[in-house]
Each structure stands twice: as C-alpha cells, then as structure tokens.
Amino acid sequence: MTASAAATRRYSNATYRTLRRLKTAGLYAGVAAVLLYMLFPYYWAIVSSTKTGQALYQFTLMPALDFSNYRQLFNNPVFMGALVNSGVVALVSTAISLVIGILAAYALGRLHFPPGRIVLIAVLMISVFPQVVVLSGMFEVIGWLGLYNRPSALIVSYLILTLPFTTWILTSFIRDLPRELEEAALVDGCSRLRILTHVLLPLMGPAIASTGLLSFILAWNEFLFALTFILTDENRTVPVAIGLLTGSSRYEYPFGQIMAASVTVTLPLLVLVLIFQRRIVAGLTSGAVKG
C-alpha cells in the first residue's frame, strides 16, 4: 500500500461525503458571487432606466416598468442618428477589414512568401499602437480625403483597429485548415483566387463570423477617433453621444436617460455575444494563446 492510499483513508466515508458537498456548495457560491459581480451593474442600469422622478432615487431592486426614458430617447433624433451612425460605421469598417483581411490571410497563411513574417510582425505591432500616436497624421489624411466631420472619416480611421486584428486571427485560422483540400483544385489548374473563394471561404464561415463580430464590437465601442474627427452632434456615434451627455448642472444629471441610452447601446452587442459566445471565445484565444 502506498503512502497516498494511506493518506486518503484518514477520514470516514460520511466525512468525505460532507466534505464533497461542502466543496460543491462552495463552487456554486463562488460562481454566484462571480455572476453577481459581473452582471449586477448592468442589471442595475436596466432597473434604473425604467424609473423616473423620485422613483430613480429609491433603491428597489425590481424594475419600475416605466418606459418614458426609452420613449424620450427614441424620439430624440440626435440619439437615433448616432445609433444609425454607429451601426453603419461599425458594419462598413468590419466588412472592408474582412475582405482585405481574408485576402492577406491567404497570402500569409498559405503561399510561399518569405517576407510574410515581417508583414505579420508589423501587423501585430500596429495593433498595439497607442491610437493617440497616429492622431495628428490621421487628422491630415482625413483632411486630404475631405472626410472631416463625416462618419466616413471613422470608417477610414477604424481600419487601423480592425484590419490588423482580422488579418492576424484569419491567418492563424487559415493555417489550421488542412492543405490537402486545395491540392486537388491546384492540380486541376484552379487559380488562387478561385481556390480562396470556392474551397476555403465556405469552410471559413465560423471564423469569419467570430472575427467579424469582434471587429464590429471594436468599432462600435471606439471613442477617441469618434470624439476627435466628428464635430457636430448629428454625425456622432453613440459612445461619444453618451460620453458627452451632461445635465444643465452636476446635480441635474439625467441618470434615467443615460441608463436607458446605455442599455440600448449595449443590448445589440449582448445579444450577439450570447449567441456567438463559443465562436467569440475561440476567436479571442486562437490568436493570443497560439501566437
């Protein structure tokens, strides 16, 4: 009999059962605490967004189901405009990044191309640039393109965030696909572009979905460029609209409205995140842990 077997016999079976139950209870208590910590603030935002007047300052945990904050918000053309701007800007910059990123990922992940390593390192370095470093130069590029104070200025500037990211993740994904798939097509004399669009692309659906979603979140949430390149309220994105929302004084802060806006901006993201959670986790970690 080994020492360890002797050690495991220290307690009676009943004690073991109790210990195991305590351990399970501890585990669930821990999980509950984590969920409370992570989710309660958002829940409280939802609760507060359905309260107006004095009710807002009561500490009831149940929502009051008064939707006047939302009605006001949806009747506010500036906020609705910002919502549309955010959606368009995030969608278009994600779409452009995906197209360019897929092409580049094929070259970097599959073709014999020695300088590819340098390109990949450069792409990774650009993705950790502090944004403020390119601010003045980007200002100039935006000016040349005549896009200042237009939402399309954000589509252009967000490419610095979304493009390195999509390229990096899609490259690591393409490398994981089995090579044999394309070899037959190559022997048949298929062009590289045809192989990419007809053989690889159908297999990349999940990777494209997760990369696209993460890039969408990145663009939807961006603040610095949106604050700097847009001057007028009707061209703003929602994070900036919420960031600049203030009451007429510090004590007249329209918290109910702000919470309604916060819930509205976050809701589409949360729905997407919960639907695609597996893919998101895979996308987030594939680049990081392997690379």
Partner: protein, 297 residues
C-alpha cells in the same frame, strides 16, 4: 527543380497581389500617419494651418519633458496600468480556476461574464458613475445603511479617490478578458498530469504551484502583455469620468489635449511621440521578460 522554383516565384507574385490592399491600407492609416506625427513633432505647426510651419529641432520634446503636467500624466498612467493589470491578473486567475471546474451551466456562465467586456467603456463608466454617485448611488446607500460611513462618499469627485475609482471600473471591465485567456491556457494542460499527481498524493496547493501555475504561465504572460499595452494607452475611461482632471489624466489625454484643445500640432505630436517611445520601451521589456522566462524553462 526548375518547376518548383518557378512555382515559388509565381506564388510570391500572387502573394504580393493578395497583400496589396492590406499594405496599401496600413500605409494610409498607420505608417504614414505615424511618420507624419513624428515629422510634426519637430515643427511649430498649428492644427488650423498645418502646412504653415518651421522646423524647431527638439524644442517640442524639451517643452513636453519640462511640463510637470505631462509627468503627472505619465505617473497616473503607470500607476493605473500597474495596479489594474495586477488586480485583473489575480482576479482573472481566481475566476478562471473556478470556472475551469465542471458545474451545471458552465457554458452560460462563461458567456455571461463576457458582458462587462463587450460594453463600450463609456457605458461602463456611466453605469458605475451612477452607482457611485455621492447622493443617489447604490453603493453609498449600501455603505450608509450598513453603517460603514455616515455620509455618501464622492468617489468620482474626491481627488484622492478618483484614480482608485478609475482602476476599480477598469478591473471590472477587463477581468473577463483575462479570465478567457487564462481559461484557454488552463484547458491546454493535459488532464493526465493531474491524474498522475492524484495517484502520487500531491496536495492541492502544491498541485497549483508546481503544475497549474507554471503550465499556465505562457497564457498568463500573453494576457498580461496585451492588457498592459492596452492600459498604457487608456483614454476613454478617464476622459468620460474626469475629462482633464490632473489626478486621472493619462498620457493619451495629455497628448490629445495639446493637439486638439490647444491646437498645438507640434507640441501634441511631440507628446504623442513621447508616449510612443515610453510604451515601446515597456513593450520591449515585457517581451524580453517573457522570452527570458521561456528560455529558462
């Protein structure tokens, strides 16, 4: 042989074509703007007339380096980064270890904890600002009811508390990211190692120190690197909570202020070049440490 070389050459040509849109875009939105920022840092240009400039050598760099506000911003950024990344790493590791175990609804819980991370930082700032409000905030109400304090604390207004508040909110926002990366690292550890440890009766705490932690170190290291670089460029959280408050001003806020608020293109460019150099130096040190770590394994 010849055929193979021809094919390689052909592949290289195709690769250039496929890479062309990427390279063109990156030059336009990253490399050119970066080069221009560095260029402007040697000039006395103003934002309203950027083409009207003269060269001033290193004058802007010196002006920034002599500005105590800049060094205050550097200090804030470093304190913020160090404390929040450290807290996130510990909390992230603890939560990852918890969620790594088998329990009912694990998938849903893992998805749910992503919520703080997926929100815009501005929204998180606003929600916490509301919860931490000195008069009507839930947190103060709770503290007063429990008798911890007599009167609500002005978390986002008190100069001695505000940096701590910023760190607290950032930890809430970014811990999910840490948890995910560390969880991914934990999942790469083969089960057999633990089984072997069980058979030889290795106690739990020792299992953690001599198996889990060393094997998860690469994942934790990468997560720390990402988070550190991200924290060093932080802009939105401080800006929304306190705008130009010198107690929370980060390097990015300082640089943008020079550039946009004061319209001083040359000075702003010099400040952002300083930021770039500081962050670059820290990145090199961290990557070096990670390599060193891997080399000694």
């Amino acid at each position: 042989m010849n055929a193979q070389r021809r094919m390689e050459r052909q592949q290289r040509r195709t690769a250039w074509i496929f890479l062309f849109p990427l390279l063109l875009t990156l030059v336009a939105v990253a490399i050119w703007p970066l080069a221009r920022s560095v260029f402007f840092s040697f000039t006395d240009a103003y934002l309203d007339a950027p083409s009207d400039y003269g060269f001033v050598g290193f004058e802007n760099f010196v002006t920034v380096a002599e500005d105590p506000v800049f060094w205050g911003a550097v200090r804030n950024t470093l304190v913020f980064t160090l404390v929040s990344v450290a807290l996130e790493t510990f909390l992230g590791l603890a939560i990852a270890l918890l969620l790594h175990r088998a329990f009912l609804g694990r998938g849903i819980v893992r998805a749910a904890i992503l919520i703080p991370w997926a929100m815009p930082m501005v929204v998180s700032a606003r929600i916490w600002e509301w919860m931490l409000n000195d008069q009507f905030g839930l947190i103060n109400k709770l503290l007063v009811t429990l008798g911890v304090v007599e009167k609500g604390i002005a978390w986002t207004a008190d100069p001695s508390l505000i940096l701590g508040t910023v760190i607290f909110i950032d930890v809430w926002v970014t811990t999910p990211f840490m948890v995910l990366l560390i969880l991914a690292g934990l999942q790469l550890i083969p089960e057999e190692i633990y089984e072997a440890a069980d058979v030889s009766g290795v106690p739990h705490w020792k299992r953690f120190w001599s198996i889990t932690l060393p094997l998860a170190t690469p994942a934790i290291g990468v997560a720390i690197l990402f988070r550190t670089l991200d924290a060093l460029r932080m802009f939105d959280l401080s800006y929304v909570l306190a705008a130009n408050n010198e107690n929370t001003m980060t390097m990015s806020i300082y640089a943008r202020d020079q550039l946009i608020s004061f319209q001083d293109l040359g000075l702003g460019a010099a400040a952002s070049t300083w930021v770039f150099m500081i962050i670059g130096l820290i990145a090199i040190v961290i990557v070096g440490l990670l390599r060193l770590d891997r080399a000694t394994d």
